[in-house]
């Protein structure tokens, strides 16, 4: 009973926090969808702990706790993978930006040299 209240309250707080972040435009929708999904599952498990054991039996896992551990670890792995993927994309983009800046710099230098030559002659 106490655990039910604890998980339920945590999940609700978590969901409220995510919602507020999205509302203040601090979190992009694509990330929010993921975390809202997690919050809803935790809330469901908190309110109906017995559902967990039923799912565990249906899947053929010894008990609900191992199931939660398994899915929790899997989920965190996937999130880490996703973040690495996003970081790679951002790295590529900053690289492209740096290249563009270098090219622009060259063009500006060339241009100012040309105007200097013209004013000198």
């Amino acid at each position: 009973m106490n655990l039910t209240i604890l998980t339920g309250a945590t999940a609700l707080l978590f969901l409220g926090f995510i919602f507020e972040l999205v509302r203040r435009r601090r979190l992009r929708e694509k990330y929010a969808v993921l975390w809202i999904f997690v919050g809803v599952i935790v809330l469901g498990l908190g309110l109906y702990p017995r559902a967990l054991n039923r799912v565990a039996i249906a899947v053929g896992v010894a008990n609900g706790v191992s199931l939660v551990l398994f899915f929790g670890v899997m989920f965190l792995l996937l999130v880490c993978l996703h973040l690495s993927w996003e970081a790679s994309r951002l790295e590529d983009e900053t690289r492209v930006l740096a290249e563009e800046v270098a090219l622009l710099r060259l063009r500006m230098d060339e241009q100012s040299e040309r105007t200097e030559e013209r004013s000198a002659s």
Binding site: R23, R26, R28, E29, E93, V96
Partner: protein, 272 residues
């Protein structure tokens, strides 16, 4: 990337504060056009902004048609990391072409377009598709309608033309139209149209704030504009067939579209 546009609360930014003032007090009675802006197209500086992504085949013809029909407007093409030389073709055709180093999406490209419009002191900015589906013949009507409102949508499904959409995509559009019509106190039949004109005040708002999410660029901008007290209106337009390329609609994506429409609208309504 989004941090720059989310700094502080919307009300405290200089741009939002400047446009908030008269608008918030009495939306209905507020004159839509500043005194300096005379109705009629000749006195105002008008910029057409075209977001373009791999439209090299069609964009030359579209620009030529605009310069032919509307000699008084300037054309800005925002090439969004195209791989087919869209920017070069646009430059050849006589438009100003901004070339982004990689794809930012329609919303990102439009924000850059509005920044250009603001910095170059344009009075009216009009978004037009680069694929030739928007008939430039309607542009003077859009500009005229700006004397009554701050933003004017060129709307399909409003009587002109035979543009048709079916299935979940249609339900989504109906739902969006219904909610946004309520907010606007006028009938808006096509809230996802990318054919729209806005005035100077909205140019400076959009230059700082423009959603980058899919559907945000059309739906969320409307919600924000209406909530700041600006008037939004529409005029019926006929859509033309694509001049090249493949249409982006697929029945599989339609259901997803409905979900995203709900999410976008919901978030736009709860956000400040």
């Amino acid at each position: 990337m989004t941090e720059t546009l989310s700094v502080g609360e919307p009300g405290t930014g200089t741009h939002a504060a400047a446009s908030d003032g008269p608008a918030a007090s009495d939306p209905a009675a507020r004159p839509a056009a500043a005194p300096a802006e005379q109705p009629g197209t000749s006195t105002r500086r008008v910029l057409i902004i075209m977001p373009a992504w791999n439209e090299a085949e069609s964009i030359g013809g579209v620009i030529a048609e605009i310069e032919d029909a509307l000699p008084f407007v300037d054309v800005l093409v925002v090439d969004d990391g195209s791989t087919d030389g869209t920017a070069a073709v646009a430059h050849q055709a006589g438009a100003v072409a901004l070339k982004l180093p990689y794809n930012l999406g329609v919303g990102g490209a439009m924000r850059l377009g509005y920044k250009y419009a603001r910095d170059n002191d344009y009075d009216v900015a009009i978004q037009v598709d680069a694929d030739g589906q928007h008939d430039p013949g309607y542009v003077p009507k859009l500009i005229d309608a700006l004397s009554q409102s701050a933003l004017v949508i060129g709307a399909r499904f409003a009587g002109e033309g035979d543009y048709q959409v079916r299935g979940p995509r249609r339900w989504a559009m109906t739902m969006l139209s219904w909610v946004l019509s309520k907010l606007a106190h006028t009938r808006l039949t096509d809230t996802t149209s990318g054919f729209r004109a806005c005035n100077r005040e909205l140019i400076s708002l959009f230059a700082e704030w423009y959603p980058v999410e899919y559907l945000g660029d059309t739906v969320e901008t409307l919600v924000r504009t209406l909530r700041l007290g600006y008037r939004v209106n529409q005029i019926p337009v006929a859509m033309r067939r694509r001049q090249s390329g493949t249409p982006s609609q697929s029945p599989l994506k339609a259901m997803l579209y409905l979900g995203r429409a709900f999410l976008t609208l919901f978030l736009a309504l709860v956000r400040r």
